[in-house]
Amino acid sequence: MTEYEVLLQQTINGLSLGAMYALLALGFTLVYGILELINFAHFNVFMVASFIGMWALQLFGVSGQTRILTGAALAGVLAFAFVVTMAAAGVIGVAIERLSLRPLRGVRGTAAMITTIGVNYILFNAILLTVGAGSENYPNPLPVVRWQFGHVIVELKEVLIWVVAVVLMVALHLFVNHTRLGKAMRATAQDGEAARMMGVDVDRIIVIAFFLGSALAGAAALIFGLYYNYTSFIVGYTVGLRAFTAAVLGGIGSITGAMVGGLLIGLIETLGGQLIAVRWTDVIIFSILVLVLVVVPSGLFGRSNPQKS
């Protein structure tokens, strides 16, 4: 492989990683945009969703890489798995909001954020105690299809990640910017109090934000599993932290910011690892984050909102 080919390959790897981070970052950003709350439970909503996706695939007798599907069967199984995973993750998100955050709605300070950390641990231990601590050989029905350009390889599973990510992000963009509900969301994000006075059902908007954010985490979790053929009860932490960083880098609260931030973090991770050293990945990522925040405190695409009361 030439130097050029290696960098190209790392860029492809980075785009796949970045697409996952972006989908996950959107969940942080949607909730933050509405509630100004950092939802740390999102880390393990992702992890739990990866198991739900696994069980959904296993319903079709797909276990490990032993059962390869093609054509309509593949499309059907994948569509089913995505719908089930996203819906289940969305429901978990909504449940978290209803059970643990709504009662704290009026409480000032960090109580709600700390609560999300607690919920994060509950989800973590729920999987640890029920499923166990082993690594799962994630079911993957995708045939191994590779396109080779010189020494650079693009795999079917990578194309799948990109397609899913782009479709979901476009759908989210259309929803937020071109529907009545989306308009209500934007209004609530700008000023919840005023939105309420104008007749927006803010509680419903919050539920929708949690549902959408968690459903996107569900999609990210399923493509994560299909990409690495792996999941375990610990996967929420590293992936979640990177995604959170992506949301902050892009400007937390900004949907475009989360998408761009995710891709950037993915690319920084792979290209930084290639050009410097993989063990410095976190140092590189967080140095860039600090630099960006020093120059643009609200992140790349963040709005500097007037302080809400």
Partner: protein
């Protein structure tokens, strides 16, 4: 679910059995009891393999108890878990806490474990201060018993960290010899999982590989909690090495096996006893695991006819096949039981100090042959066995006994 619940159940069961028997025994016949501490990571990525080790040790202990104990002593067990959810695998901090628990329990006269060298490094100084000997059936980092680091790992002076396996001072270099001599590898890339064991093993392999004239194209360190190793593996692919050597345990190992199969399928791959694990077969599975060359720091006893009866009893009792480290754990228990037996026979008190000294002077016939230790606690026998993961459809695909095919002994350095 399985491992943790079973730990809790067996913990309470042993505790219960312990109180009942020692109590009842004292009332009935004035019998005495002593305790053996067992510390293994039952939580996390190595839980399944920890279970296999525990079962090996428990088989020996249970059999001794049901034969009426050792010279009048019932053997109780203090079972401790040094794996934590936060670490997702063994956790040296928890291991240190467990070492203090063992030392704090006066009835504990010897210990078995830990599975992992990272835990061993944390436990050894504490056990040394407490004068409590432990026998590890699987932790292979040489520093712990190296006299050069005695001030750090055995500040109280005497050797307390005994092993029924040899160390990475042989496991790494002998595999480098095997790469050079038998596999005729000329270039290699080395990875480790940033744990005490992984780094040490990879260092030892790398140094000998260089000495043998192999071209070491690079060395990188993986974060075991990270999922994505594609960046590192793409980097390796660009360097086009003939072989990859991985020093580390299952948490990183599963992902290395999977992702390297995807990105560098044609590179020859090898690792140490961290890759000799049911977890690798279960988590990475086939076809990814197929073809890996793996060593263990002990002779391969599983195909030895002397071991057959024990393996049969093991399989009958626990419903699964033992692996080689179930056997080294069984042997570790035999060594401790033998030490207690000799002390009791000589009429002396069975104290920690006495048990330690008795272990030090062991010449015990075990499944892997006669076990004796040098002044640092290392086993005299220094055999490194090589296996290759070879799919065998006649047996369960996570059965270490049948999916790791024994190849032979790795050549020692001259």
């Amino acid at each position: 679910m399985w491992s943790r619940r079973s730990v809790i159940i067996s913990l309470s069961a042993t505790a219960l059995a312990g109180t009942l028997t020692s109590h009842g025994a004292r009332v009935l016949a004035g019998e005495k009891s002593v305790k053996i501490g067992i510390n293994l990571p039952f939580t996390g990525a190595d839980a399944h393999d920890a279970e296999l080790i525990k079962d090996g040790a428990m088989l020996a202990i249970d059999e001794a108890n049901s034969a009426g104990g050792i010279a009048g002593y019932k053997i109780d067990v203090l079972l401790l878990d040094d794996g934590t959810a936060t670490a997702g695998q063994y956790d040296p901090a928890q291991a240190a806490t467990n070492a203090r628990k063992m030392v704090g329990d006066d009835a504990v006269v010897a210990a078995i474990g830990p599975q992992m060298s990272g835990s061993g490094k944390a436990m050894s100084p504490i056990l040394s201060q407490g004068g409590l000997a432990t026998i590890t059936p699987s932790s292979t980092n040489p520093d712990i018993t190296n006299p050069r680091f005695a001030a750090q790992y055995r500040p109280a002076g005497k050797a307390i960290y005994f092993r029924t396996v040899t160390t990475d001072a042989f496991q790494g270099p002998n595999m480098a010899n095997y790469f050079a001599d038998t596999l005729k590898v000329r270039s290699v890339y080395v990875l480790d999982d940033s744990g005490a064991y992984g780094v040490g093993l990879a260092d030892a392999f790398q140094a000998q590989a260089k000495r043998r004239g192999l071209d070491v194209l690079g060395r990188d360190q993986l974060n075991p909690k990270e999922t994505d190793y594609t960046t590192t593996l793409t980097k390796i692919k660009a360097l086009n090495p003939q072989a990859l050597y991985f020093g580390g345990v299952a948490q990183a190992g599963v992902k290395v096996v999977k992702e390297s199969f995807d990105i560098i399928p044609n590179v020859l791959k090898g690792g140490g006893d961290g890759v000799y694990a049911a977890e690798i077969l279960r988590g990475a599975g086939f076809p990814a695991a197929q073809g890996w060359y793996v060593t263990i720091a002990a002779p391969n006893v599983l195909e030895n006819p002397d071991a057959a009866p024990m393996m049969e009893r093991f399989a009958k009792k626990y419903g699964q096949q033992p692996d080689n480290y179930s056997i080294t754990a069984y042997d570790a228990a035999l060594v401790i039981l033998d030490a207690i037996r000799r002390l009791a026979a000589a009429g002396g008190p069975v104290t920690r100090d006495a048990v330690r000294d008795a272990i030090q002077q062991s010449h015990v016939k075990t499944l892997q042959g006669e076990i004796s230790f040098d002044a640092n606690g290392d086993i005299a026998n220094r055999v490194i066995s090589v296996f290759q993961i070879t799919r065998n459809d006649k047996y369960p695909l996570d059965d270490v006994l049948h999916q790791y095919k024994y190849i032979g002994v790795a050549p020692a350095s001259s």
